[in-house]
């Protein structure tokens, strides 16, 4: 696949703030973007760090009244969507031929559990219809389409860690076939206490920092947020955020992912030791290589944030320096990433716990 699909706008919201400027600032001045939350466990309450997203800026685009029944999951998606359109200068354009594609690992967690609360607390006959209808995975895509009056095709994909690359295959396909003129593409996932409890049961307490290059130790910290992109076919040979050169989803049972020589590699390692070890072999390859999960946290749609960083790197012509706290073992890699990008493709690689992997390649030239 060599799509030549251009990225026209990027909209992100996460623990680092909202908007492409906030992401750029976080990349230049990395710090700890987590907040502490308390989770209840069988051995008492535990305070753990989490990357949380604030969607209060959504009122810049929609009246408060319109947001009354919109939950946090959909609000993150809406904010990401509006920011991407604004970044592309397309807030006012006609959207009849715009497709909407949203990827999510877990969907509307809060609302799903709130719906079950209504059943448990009040009985089956008093289950909440509003919570039920907002608990479906495609609620975010529906709200985005409704508020933006986007009547093109709509798709929501849920493939855990592979959600972003899997959904992006369809975005590229729609544009290549001419089904739509543009695709508002994004990923969204939210944190909730139940998820925090499950993660604690699975992995225990893992410290305050994600160390994506420490492949021996679990260091994942949960995150939430949304990363959106306005994509279109472009006749131009250059695009400030670059082009999608390639998208692939496959499995390592049939061979390791191959990153072409001369590429730059962003690994999606996010502190999960089971997946992390699978990235280790890339350290010995002669590739400029880095990871950005300490900026946005561990969540299924993390590859969306790597894609946003890749787009921003292409726009600035340089890779962003690896934050100091990333547990890097091979320091020579950090020297490599100060190089210019030029025409080299950036590969964003995500490997799942079952050995499935997704690769998204962005390039500055068509």
């Amino acid at each position: 696949m060599n799509s030549g699909i251009a990225i026209n706008g990027v909209g992100v919201v996460g623990g680092f703030g909202y908007g492409i400027s906030a992401l750029g600032l976080a990349l230049k001045r990395p710090e700890r973007f987590t907040e502490n939350v308390t989770i209840q466990t069988s051995d008492g309450p535990h305070t753990v760090p989490v990357y949380l997203a604030d969607t209060s800026q959504l009122t810049n685009y929609l009246p408060k009244r319109a947001l009354r029944r919109i939950d946090h999951y959909s609000r993150m998606a809406l904010l990401g969507a509006f920011l991407a359109l604004e970044d592309a200068g397309e807030l006012e354009s006609d959207r009849k031929r715009m497709g909407v594609i949203i990827a999510t690992g877990y969907g509307a967690l809060h609302t799903s559990f709130d719906f079950m609360d209504s059943v448990i607390d009040f009985g089956d006959p008093l289950a909440s219809p509003t919570l039920f209808s907002n608990s479906v995975h495609n609620a975010a895509a529906a709200h985005v389409s409704i508020f933006l009056k986007a009547t093109g095709p709509s798709l929501t994909v849920s493939q855990f860690e592979m959600s972003i690359p899997s959904a992006l295959i369809s975005a590229v396909s729609w544009l290549e076939q001419g089904r739509v003129d543009s695709v508002l593409f994004g990923g969204v996932d939210e944190y909730c206490d139940v998820l925090g409890y499950c993660l604690h049961q699975f992995f225990g307490y893992n410290g305050n920092d994600i160390k994506p290059f420490d492949f021996e130790r679990q260091s994942a910290i949960a995150g939430e947020g949304a990363a959106f992109f306005l994509l279109s076919r472009s006749k131009k040979t250059d695009s400030s955020y670059g082009f999608i050169e390639n998208v692939k989803v496959s499995s390592m049972v049939n061979g390791e992912p191959v990153i072409p020589e001369g590429s730059i590699l962003f690994i999606g390692a996010d502190g999960h030791v089971q997946c992390g070890r699978r990235y280790e072999r890339f350290l010995s390859e002669d590739l400029p290589l880095t990871a950005y999960s300490p900026l946005y946290g561990s969540m299924p749609v993390g590859p969306g944030f790597d894609m946003a960083v890749a787009a921003l790197s292409i726009r600035s012509g340089r890779l962003f320096v690896i934050p100091d706290n990333m547990g890097i073992k091979n320091q020579s890699k950090s020297e490599l990433i100060t190089q210019k990008i030029d025409s080299r493709p950036i590969y964003c690689l995500k490997i799942g716990p079952g050995g499935g992997y997704g690769m998204i390649a962005l390039t500055s030239i068509k």
Partner: protein, 396 residues
């Protein structure tokens, strides 16, 4: 949009309350009887027992236990599809095979038993969560058979199954893979049971799609899995296509989270795209498999659109036989559509007895002979999603 290359269907597997395989399901449809019953696998404290269409345990052939019921349904239907397509597990590994499955419950973190314990402060073990995490339908199918192509689980609510088939056909056309295992699967569970009742769109009696007295849907469960192949793959395997996905269209109403837009513009747009990509016109369509849930709103909008776009063309909803199988519905009904084209007949729209003067058209009351090679299958969904498939063969 240009006319698309037809994508061959070489195998179909299907199970629902009416049968363990497509041939049993078709026999059941043409018997003209149905078997809705109070739920067995789920209990509730509603004063009324809303009938459902459950798949009997013995019909699910998958022996795997550490997966969700949705995945067990998927694997059962997939086995039939592979057999129908004359594909062995070894042969599957020799092709670049993608997986695209639609579902709703299948990817939702609504493990109620676990959550009840959590809610009660019992700090439950997470084995039930692990089972959910191991049960993404597309990943599971891909992993079990060692497939190398992309996997995508479509969660477009009730149009998921239809969308998954249309998207999978795109993968073949654009060369993403040379074979795709595609379809839809969904299990019945208390969350959807209570949810649809809370929306007051569930009938306490067997549902009556398009009938004047219709009061809502009955829920069901099941799965349908298709094997889609490129022409190259068919030639290499010396197979013949059973049927084709000729066209696919989808669009969003952008109107309301749960109600369809009253003028049916999203559905019309989707039909228009599906017809255009299939290279057919409304005169070529010999019948329509309607979404026909039995809810007042859905059937009203769908009848309006059918009267405008396909005047005089026979149509039927099969949800009176299967219940609304949510993410599986679009795929199950596409399987029925292919089988009906093969048999040259469509079943009676069971539950329909009295014409609704508010609807411009009515479905077939009796099993009806159809002449032609092309049919349409429609799916409408929460979120204003519409998915339309054009299925069959274009005679040259």
């Amino acid at each position: 949009m240009k006319q698309s290359t037809p994508v061959a269907i070489t195998g179909i597997g299907c199970l629902c309350a009416g049968g363990q395989n497509l041939s049993e399901c078709m026999e059941y449809l043409f018997q003209g009887e149905r078997l809705p019953a109070p739920p067995v696998n789920i209990s509730s404290d509603h004063s009324v027992s809303y009938p459902v269409f459950e798949v009997k345990e013995e019909l699910i052939s998958s022996e795997e236990r550490e997966i969700t019921r949705t995945c067990a349904l998927t694997l059962t239907a997939a086995l039939e599809a592979f057999e129908n397509a004359k594909l062995s597990p070894k042969e599957l590994k020799e092709h670049h095979v993608g997986v695209c499955i639609g579902t709703t419950v299948g990817t939702t973190f609504n493990r109620e038993g676990f959550y009840r314990d959590y809610h009660a402060g019992l700090f439950p073990e997470t084995d039930r969560v692990k089972r959910f995490l191991n049960s993404n339908p597309s990943s599971l199918l891909s992993h079990k058979y060692g497939l190398t192509g992309p996997r995508q689980t479509v969660v477009n609510a009730c149009s998921s199954g239809g969308d998954a088939l249309g998207l999978a056909a795109e993968w073949i056309r654009t060369g993403v893979c040379d074979m795709v295992i595609a379809g839809g699967a969904d299990e019945l569970c208390r969350v959807t049971y209570n949810g649809f009742i809370s929306l007051k769109i569930t009938d306490s009696e067997p549902c009556k799609p398009f009938d004047r007295e219709r009061k809502g849907l009955n829920l069901g469960e099941g799965a349908a899995i298709f094997v889609l192949e490129s022409e190259d793959s068919i030639k290499k395997r010396k197979m013949k296509a059973r049927s084709y996905i000729l066209g696919y269209g989808s669009g969003c109403d952008a109107y309301h989270l749960t109600a369809p837009i009253p003028d049916g513009s999203g559905l019309k747009q989707s039909i228009s795209e599906a017809m255009e990509t299939s290279g057919t016109s409304s005169e070529d369509i010999c019948f329509i498999s309607a979404h026909g849930t039995g809810t007042p709103d859905n059937d009203k909008v769908e009848a309006l659109v059918l009267s405008e776009v396909f005047p005089g063309t026979p149509f039927c909803s099969t949800k009176g036989y299967t219940g609304h199988t949510l993410g599986a519905a679009g795929a199950i009904e596409a399987a029925f559509t292919v089988a009906c084209l093969e048999q040259g007949r469509i079943p009676a729209n069971i539950g329909f007895t009295i014409h609704d003067p508010g609807l411009p058209v009515s479905p077939v009351k009796h099993a009806t002979e159809v002449k032609g090679h092309v049919a349409v299958s429609e799916s409408l969904a929460f979120g204003g999603n519409n998915a339309v498939l054009v299925l069959g063969r274009i005679e040259i």
